[in-house]
Symmetry: C2
Subunit: 348 residues, 2 copies
DNA sequence: TAGAACTTTGACTACGTAGTCACAAACCTC
DNA sequence: GAGGTTTGTGACTACGTAGTCAAAGTTCTA
């Protein structure tokens, strides 16, 4: 019996109706629509005209049901509007558009395991999944999915499925930022960290540590942990401003750097005169702060492009790449970082 | 014949396999999975156990093909990582999650008509469309879609379909910001506008004009049009700094306000001593700038919730609401705006 | 010019799901 | 205890598409 309840929406014409209009079989319409060979020019024209007239639009659900392929990629995101994550998200959309895939987003709610979002995407139907700005609860992230997964950060264990890792090189970036400050003559560099359950934040801490160790600089204690917000950077900045020997600070993102700048200003410390500050992200406002902020820029477009390319390769049956891919980063030096100030000259 | 080419991915079990395992019919599995009544507890248990064991996951493509409903909403976005748009996007995702819909995103590429993105969403299969941060080329936006459309901004003409408008009240917001500055004693208020093809930008210009007119204040000319970026705000700020009678500036967003602040600082103008500045958005950094920025906050969560509710109502067959919905805004006064400075006192 | 090879077209089918209907069994109601 | 209603279950079907195969027509080859 026909399924035609009252709540059922009108549908557009299908291939069968186009076929009738063009006087051919449904299969021939399928061939024309999909650009398959072995269709005579006249028939192709007739079909295309009918498509035009009827306003035919392919039904992706039917195609997906038949083929088991959706031409859709799911993205799991924390759903924060932070500069990095949102820029990345939009870059992913563009990258998927480029390869003809559509974009489905699932946010993870606080306290919920990532698997919940993955499940939602799988149910909706996706050929692959990108894990953006991932966090974890300490233990390495384990997922179950029957499609390939690309993680933008650390590796993920995916039961039964293939997975790969693509990321901006946060570790190297943090090292570069720290080395920049050390090269200006600072004895050591303090770090305002992001939340420890973010992989990106941990990477930056590690990079900072490595740079200090490599230079033989002492590793100062971490101030209160930030949450990426200017408010948390301000809190950390106040702590640091209270210490006497802080001359260089590397904040895990620009927003926290902004908060720290504010704290230093309120404490009467000049930047970079008394304290040098380096941020992370190169948000558009960075160059227009007072003082303009030295920071590290990640190439989110490159990360997204690479992530999608890797994912598509796996979707099409290729093996998971053995190595992670890291996209290089770039340090932009502005006025907020400068040479260490001479110790107050003795009375002359 | 079975469709089983080599490129075809393995699929999970379907209801039929679950049914076999549980010793019932496929239809009964359907009843259990969808929580329909008239299933005996024992059978329900048996089915649920089989579902668990086999790792059954509903196939949304099949459901959609049958019902013509996707439980998916498409969002058309400009794809800019600006604070407002990205915050809105993520709020939309959450709102859709709340009502059990999934989220599909289509970005409009520069120079391409919005209809292209709409078409992509329709082809992929969505029950409704949200037009976020929309722009137009001067002429009112006309779309063709056979699903309901909610525009977050101005009205859109949708051929054959129903449509509604939900927005933060940018007009009122701009009026409030302007009135705030006038109430501090400024003779008039200058405006740094956003791009004129953004509805939001035009709204703010109109609100500013209305407030000036209502107060009988003269309407100063607009400086160079901004593009929402700090750089463009800086350029406009330099223009304004060169004029002698500028004491109050309302920038169409916080980023441009940041640029303007920088320009004023470089010109030796103090804020708010010489010039008061008000922004728009209340980005997290606004409170930590030097000086902290007076700005207007929009409630994106409320906008998104309302937009999704309205859309769902239309999807479920309801009529399009006749009136647009506007979400109230809130002015946050900080240190960047202050009373007009007394004219330089005559020599005493 | 016979047969092989290719081109063009269509009939048939399956993908996984939920609506419709049929029917048996259990439960009422008076 | 006859008639009616409700409950529980399954058979059958359609949704729109593309793969498979068959068949007729056309061109090429020896």
């Amino acid at each position: 019996m026909a399924v035609t309840g009252p709540g059922r929406p009108r549908r557009g014409p299908g291939m069968t109706e186009v076929a009738r209009a063009a006087g051919v079989s449904q299969k021939t319409v399928s061939r024309v629509v999909n650009g398959e060979p072995h269709v005579s020019p006249e028939v192709r024209d007739r079909v295309l005209r009918a498509v035009q007239e009827l306003g035919y639009r392919p039904n992706n659900a039917a195609r997906a049901l038949l083929l088991g392929r959706y031409r859709r990629i799911g993205v799991v995101s924390l759903g924060s509007a932070l500069y990095g994550p949102s820029t990345l998200l939009l870059a992913l959309e563009r990258a998927m558009h480029r390869v003809g895939y559509s974009f489905a987003l699932a946010g993870t709610l606080e306290g919920q395991p990532v698997q919940v979002a993955v499940e939602a995407l799988l149910e909706q139907g996706v050929d692959g999944i990108v894990l953006s700005e991932p966090i974890d609860d300490g233990a390495p992230l384990r997922l179950s999915a029957d499609v390939p997964v690309v993680s933008l950060g650390e590796g993920v264990e995916v039961g039964q499925g293939r997975s790969a890792v693509v990321g901006a090189d946060g570790l190297v970036a943090a090292r570069i930022a720290t080395e920049h400050l050390l090269s200006l003559g600072h004895r050591t560099v303090w770090h305002i960290p992001g939340p420890h359950d973010w992989w990106a934040a941990r990477d930056r801490v590690r990079g900072w540590r490595e740079a200090l160790a490599a230079a033989g600089a002492p590793e100062p204690p971490l101030p209160v942990e930030g949450d990426w917000s200017p408010a948390s950077g301000y809190a950390a900045g106040r702590q640091l401003a209270g210490l006497s020997d802080v001359t260089a600070v590397f904040a895990a993102n620009d927003d926290m750097a902004i908060g720290a700048l504010r704290a230093f200003a309120e404490a009467g410390l000049s930047v970079p005169g008394d304290v040098s500050v380096v941020g992370f992200d190169d948000i558009p406002a960075a160059a227009y702060l007072s003082p303009p902020l030295t920071t590290v820029r990640q190439d989110f477009t490159a990360v997204a492009d690479r992530a999608v390319d890797v994912l598509i390769a796996m979707i099409e049956g290729g093996p998971a790449p053995a190595e992670r891919t890291d996209i290089p980063v770039e340090l932009t030096v502005r006025a907020s970082s400068g040479p260490v100030r001479e110790p107050a000259p003795p009375l002359r």
